[in-house]
Amino acid sequence: MEMEKTVGYIPNQLHNSTLLIIDKRCKPTVVPLKGSMTFGRRHSGKLCDILVDSVIVGRNHGEFIYDNNQQAYYYIDNNSLNGTYINGYKLEKYNDRGSKAFRLNDGDILRVDRTTLNQPHPEAVIMIYCTTIRYDEKWKVTDTSRYANITIGRGSNNVIRLTDMTASRNHAVLRRNNSAWFVFDNGSVNGVSLNGREINGNAAVFDHDVIKVGNTTLILCGKLLVYNNPGESTGNLSVRIQKKTVDFGRKTLLRDINFNVESGDFVLILGGSGAGKTTLVKAILGDGKADGRIILNGQDLYTNFKSMKSQIGLVPQFLTLRVNDTVKNTLIDIADIKLDRKNYSKQEKLQRIDEIMNKVGIKNLENHLIAQLSGGQKKKVSVAYQLVGFQKVFICDEPDSGLDAASRTQQMEILKEISQNDKIVMVISHEPDDAVDADTGRSLFTKVVVLAKSSRDGAGHLAFYGGVEQAKEHFGVSKLQDIMKEINPPFEGGKGKADYYIDKYYSLGR
């Protein structure tokens, strides 16, 4: 089907997929996965694409297979002598070709080792499939023999001090008990996982085990602890919606919506009534799950919804705050709910709230009841409310509605500034041309998503995704607002060219 081919427009998953390999030298090597690749031992004959120096790895041990349709990697063990363990389970032989294919997700741990994983072979090899670790990631090594306790977190008193904002101040501790190590979760916000599974309180850590603390990966390798420190993640959001249906599949609201947003992007979502803007927003939020995937920093929102939902914030069109409470109390309460006491002192919370109120421009209103505020001020409080947490993505549903032109511009400037702090801000707006830089006169938006309702299937399709100037060029207009005239049906005052622009966009090979 032609429409499915357009998926290729998105920067493919394979561009982001890497394989972190830890071998007997305990030196982490990051190998970028570029399409299907074979994996095996370095030897004198025909070599595989990914090579390791280990006697327990077969010459042609396994294969990483890239599926274009699913845009996902699979791993097959080629019936190797020692086999491959994935997340602690050995891949069983399926046929003469090898094992069944295992679909890889970010953080999956592949291991070539002997059966007793708790006592790894000296030449055991660990490979971690990653979509979040960069090829040029810097890795550090700590000698564990020097410590009885290794504290991990953002606090300055930790042995391993992280700058990653998803790590708590005193996130976890590795504690030695005789010769065994145990990892303890200090009641962290984002938890600790061991070999891909979240721990409950504490767990024993064995050689070659992989610990995840927020976005940080730590691997115990003999006496060494190998870890990265990604800092605040420079994330991206991939939207891959095949379709979104309602009425038990009888009505399709969205079809073939694929785009990729980088952190720092300020994205405008345009579309006529019924084009599926709200449906798209709900799909990205996970509120109304679509057939497809929403991938944030390499993790699938739909499969990790509970832990990831708080990373995407919504500033709704209509106020969802209690109007008989003051601005400051509203923010303090949400800070108390979002930020736990162990990691954030009362002082830190108040400081953060003050910073947010100053940033959003509502500091002077802190003691006002929300009911007493103007429409624009209420919108600002809604934005501030979302900022209290550490969301990576903000979706704003008409944050400028009901505001005068000056307030609209100011509101957009605030949102733009938020996006510049390595966040993704997506905005539905009907007055996009007011969002301009006062100095340069250029649009504040960095990307534009245009949804159009096709007359052929009645579903909302992507009519454009790209930069602001390209959008204007694509639709042959001088103002973003005029795009709506091009795609809206005649009975809504438009030219009814939705199908034309959908086809034009797809014909570009996107």
């Binding site: 969802t320 979002k338 947490g389």
Partner: protein, 274 residues
Amino acid sequence: MNDTSFMVQTHVYFKKIFRIAMREKAWKYMIFAAIISFIVATITGGDMFENYDSTNSGFFTLTSACIWIGIFNSIQSICKEHEIIRAEYRQGMKISAYIFANIQWQALLCLVQSIIIFGISCIFMDFSKSSHLIVSPYVENFVTVYLLVFGASVLGIMVSSLSGTPTTAMTIMPFVLIIQLIMCGVLFKLEGFADGISYITLSKWGMSAFGSVADLNSYDIVIGDTNLVVHAIHNDSYDHEISRLVIAWLSILGITVFNAVVSILALKIKNRDS
């Protein structure tokens, strides 16, 4: 993984609910309770503890008033906030903490209302005519009033949690009240299924508690204007025994806990995709 704890969130929400209630003039609930209890007590209080009918009717009216006041306290408390709850749930709110904080606030509000209701009732109803079971008839009747008002307010929270909008909640409310009034067994003799249903109503157990403290079975029935007196048909629910009173109180508490759990589940189901 460890979000802010249930206790922390409950404390946050209780403070918020209390603060907002004060701003929204929570005293009007006290006035409301005072007016209703004054009307009820003046009309029924004079004949209370004289004969079976007047005492039974008096307690029935008091029970109904308590349930009405309790439900009215909370019937709109949750449904008016569904959009806010959805947004906050996404931010990490624990629904159990939110409901528990609402229940805590209702517990406090109902305590003050119960003092008002019972205080006004005492002016017109001579509770000292009852003999005590555990402590004193005043304390026992006050506890019953409080449990009824509180239980009804948690019932209101449940209805509010199940309702999508305040309009729906207010539409459902009369049905809930009618069921409570009919199923208490005072207006009609209940048999079979209806009798079974009565065991999950606050009114039945409220009447049982009042009746057992007052030893309602010991009262005579005066037939019309004939001055003929017959002994009331024995009702096990009104046995003047400590166990009867304790069972009635525990049943009200049990129904209240059940309603609270349903409220939490209802909100969790409503927000399962958020």
